[in-house]
């Protein structure tokens, strides 16, 4: 009874080993072919070595299962008494050696190609933060944060999940097609790893060091990736979205982005003069809180005991206003509390601080105006 299902098991297993990968290779369950010369090279390397292994496996296991089936005691097989044959052993040592050398040659060529970062047209500084990415266009002086934009209720299964669940960000990294882009990857806190499968680029972001990578995208489109090194609580929630645009669209985008930056400066100055009422600030503050602060301090303001402090009834949120502003602007070094001075506009900062001082029945009644924030920023 056992011998029969062993052979069946073997053929089922070989079918599984052979058929499923072929089926999955065409489906979505295989390494993406990608849109760069490097990703094509890596994909073909992956498939060749995979097929070499499958071929060896079929031969080796074939011999093994045939001999198991054929030499069973119940079929009267008598055990032969040979137990050494050095010639055979040398052969089955040299054959794998030859196969390995055959694999090493294309692998070396691909690796050398991956390491050539000379003469790039665009330089992007990528910085990993605890649980979001920061992109800085070194030549064009544009920089922004790129945070997960999947709403929290989708993650908590209170709303249906859209197609790009957990792979969508508020501001994607925009790159030109056909241009060589050089990435300078570093980190603000712990080790992250910037990975976009379609570009076959994966480089660890290490605090204190700059790692280099490059890519030259062949087709425009949107390419999604994720952080590939455990970096703490929300390691699975800091995706990467690269939007490759044609050269004209890219330069238009850069120009528009720089114009936007100027407009934002004026708007900040202008909104500082606008009279904000308490309720307007509370409404705006709640939106900013949900988008940024709730990740750690939780929507309820209770935080996570001994990991992220609670704001409800906290001495900071109900104590001295200047101290509260100082912490939100400059963060607290050595902890996950970041400096939001550069990340939010003065209006958003004023609104979120007002919200934190009055929500969850902290209700200190304080109204922090954008002018107060601007005053602190100017004094610096």
């Amino acid at each position: 009874m056992v011998e029969l299902n062993l052979t069946k098991g073997y053929w089922l297993f070989i079918a599984l080993y052979l058929v499923v990968p072929q089926v999955s290779a065409d489906l979505k369950y295989n390494m993406p072919v990608g849109v760069t010369e490097v990703s094509h090279a890596v994909h073909s390397l992956h498939m060749t070595i995979f097929w070499i292994c499958v071929a060896i496996a079929v031969i080796v296991f074939g011999v093994m299962f045939w001999s198991i089936f054929h030499h069973r005691k119940s079929r009267g097989a008598k055990a032969a008494q040979f137990h050494e044959n050095t010639l055979v052993e040398i052969i089955w040592t040299l054959i794998p050696l030859v196969i390995l050398v055959a694999m090493a040659v294309p692998a070396t060529a691909t690796l050398i190609k991956m390491y050539d970062t000379s003469d790039a047209d665009v330089d992007i500084q990528i910085t990993g933060y605890q649980w979001k990415w920061h992109y800085k266009y070194v030549n064009d002086d544009i920089e922004f944060f790129s945070t997960l934009s999947t709403p929290a209720d989708q993650i908590k299964n209170e709303a249906p999940k859209d197609t790009n669940y957990l792979l969508e960000v508020d501001q994607p990294l925009v790159l030109p097609v056909g241009k060589k882009v050089r990435f300078l990857v570093t980190s603000n806190d712990v080790i992250h790893s910037w990975w976009v499968p379609d570009l076959a680029v994966k480089r660890d972001a290490i605090p204190g060091f700059i790692n280099e990578a490059w890519t030259k995208i062949e087709r425009s489109g949107t390419y999604r990736g994720q952080c590939a090194e455990l970096c703490g609580k929300d390691h699975g929630f800091m995706p990467i979205v690269v939007e490759a645009k044609s050269e004209q669209e890219y330069s238009a985008w850069v120009a528009n982005k720089q114009a936007e930056k100027e407009a934002a400066k004026q708007a900040a100055a202008a909104s500082a003069t606008k009279e904000w009422s308490h309720d307007e600030l509370m409404a705006e503050g709640e939106k900013v809180y949900a988008r940024i602060c709730a990740a750690c301090h939780q929507p309820t303001g209770m935080g996570i005991p001994s990991v992220f402090p609670a704001l409800k009834g906290s001495p900071v949120a109900t104590g001295n206003v200047q101290e509260h502003i100082n912490i939100v602007l400059h963060g607290r070094p050595g902890t996950a509390m970041q400096a939001f001075a550069q990340q939010l506009s003065t209006t958003e900062l004023a609104a979120v601080i007002t919200y934190e001082r009055n929500a969850w029945d902290n209700n200190t009644g304080d109204t922090v105006l954008p002018q107060a924030i601007q005053a602190v920023l100017d004094k610096q």
């Binding site: 050494e84 050095t86 052993e89 040398i90 040592t93 070396t108 050398i112």
Partner: protein, 66 residues
């Protein structure tokens, strides 16, 4: 002197076959009949270092050839 050279060559050969992982019964018995294991250990460590250096050289040759 000649005998000593012969011994060392036999030890090196058996350590090299150890690296490959293949050895026949006869030379294995002769190897293990010798009194102390120390020459084998020293030869092993030296040859391991030579292997590392050989690999580094291969890498340089590969990189030089571009």
């Amino acid at each position: 002197m000649k005998q000593m050279l012969l011994d060392w060559w036999r030890i090196v050969r058996s350590v090299l076959s150890a690296f490959l992982g293949v050895q026949n019964e006869h030379s294995r018995q002769r190897d293990f009949a010798s009194d102390s294991p120390w020459p084998f250990i020293i030869a092993g460590v030296v040859l391991a270092l030579i292997l590392v250096i050989a690999l580094v050289l291969i890498v340089h040759v590969v990189l030089a050839s571009g």
